[in-house]
Amino acid sequence: MNKIYQAKHDLWLSITFSSFAINDEEIKSRLYDFAQMAFRHMKWLGEDILSAGDKYNYDRDILLYKRETVFEIINALVIDIKAIQNVYPDTVLGERIKTDDAYLLDYLSEVLANKSNNKEITAFNMKREWLDKNLPQDQIDALTIFLFDESYKEYELILIYAYMQTRTKDILQYNVYQDLIDESHFHLKSFANMMAKLGILALPRELHEMTYIVKDLDKFIRDGIDEEMAAKEMCKALSEAIKDEELSKFFDFINYQENYHIELMRKLL
């Protein structure tokens, strides 16, 4: 059963990071919607696995589609979506997931049918230039470190909260985890799209089970609140360091969002 979960986890990341890699706003947005659907598939598959008394983990077997054109990415995605069809369980859920994937494959065919969609991919060129901004090198360095640290952290949080959400019977906890997962999805999307703009898009590192198997919830939450406080400080520092009004406002906004993340986490204590 873990093989199904792992394949879905890999596909969720593949669709998500294809969305981040592609510059065209319409394709980016459509793919991101499908990626969110794939994440829900992953969640429901996890629930079914646990209901059957089985286990799953967050091991992965994925390489980022580091390609030079949109069509190369889309074609790689098509191959992986087709390959997973034989892995899905022979259940009502499995059939439902297949109909979602069939619709995604239709959409990808439409994209491939229009040659004007085949633009260059700049997300991996490592140039670290923000074309419409003139940021000096020290600010680009600061932004780079921040984005690598925080994109990993958001991915980590999404998976930890999802792991705990699937295992709680408490409605309040379930809802709080959902809010936190949604918030982290938004942050991951924001940070990863910035990384793509800078040409440094990369997959977050795989999670080790020491990170997501939580033995002491109370300690985990208290540590998490401390981490949110630290993240607030990092956003504040970055907002002050980056001499660009638009980016500074964005990091202030992220900083203020951490306040209600902390409040949400306190509900879990």
């Binding site: 360095d141 470190i145 440094i200 795989e206 990092m234 360091a241």
Partner: protein
């Protein structure tokens, strides 16, 4: 805070490559030495997997929930020791200190947690060889990244 950030060797192409594609990252299923170094204050850890063949390090990998400095140092260090013997690996710790140059107190802790996890993996290998039943060997870090950060701030 970020104005004075110094990455190991500066943000050069090599560091960026280790950031984007950390080498030897993840579990090593056939490891015969597993070490963990844990910073209890921050809960940051590095787990280091080593496959020894006698004195030779046939393979090595690591995983961490730590910061990017830890990732880069783990990537560089694991790459340096694979295929070499234990004497070389011990010497590599000194070489890494030279390579990394002047680090902030926090970055020094990041380096130490990587090296400690590797030494813990050697300890695990030796203990198991001596007949102990030990899944992994754990070292708790004496100095915390958190206090190093505060110390760094106070020193500024």
């Amino acid at each position: 805070m970020y104005e004075n950030v110094i990455m190991p060797e500066g943000m050069n192409a090599e560091v960026l490559e280790h950031l984007m594609h950390p080498k030897n990252y993840g579990k090593l299923d056939d490891a015969n030495g597993v070490g963990v170094a844990l910073d209890e204050k921050t809960n940051e850890y590095v787990v280091f997997y080593t496959l020894f063949d006698g004195d030779i390090i046939k393979n090595a990998s690591y995983a961490t929930n730590g910061c990017q400095d830890t990732v880069v140092i783990g990537s560089m260090f694991s790459d340096m020791i694979i295929g070499n013997n234990l004497d070389y690996a011990h010497g590599s710790i000194a070489k890494m200190h030279e390579k990394l140059g002047d680090l902030t107190p926090q970055q020094k802790i990041c380096a130490e947690i990587v090296f400690s996890s590797f030494i813990a993996s050697i300890k695990n290998y030796e203990n198991v060889k001596a007949g102990a039943e030990e899944e992994l060997h754990l070292f708790k870090m004496k100095e915390s990244c958190e206090s190093a950060g505060k110390q760094g701030k106070n020193n500024e």
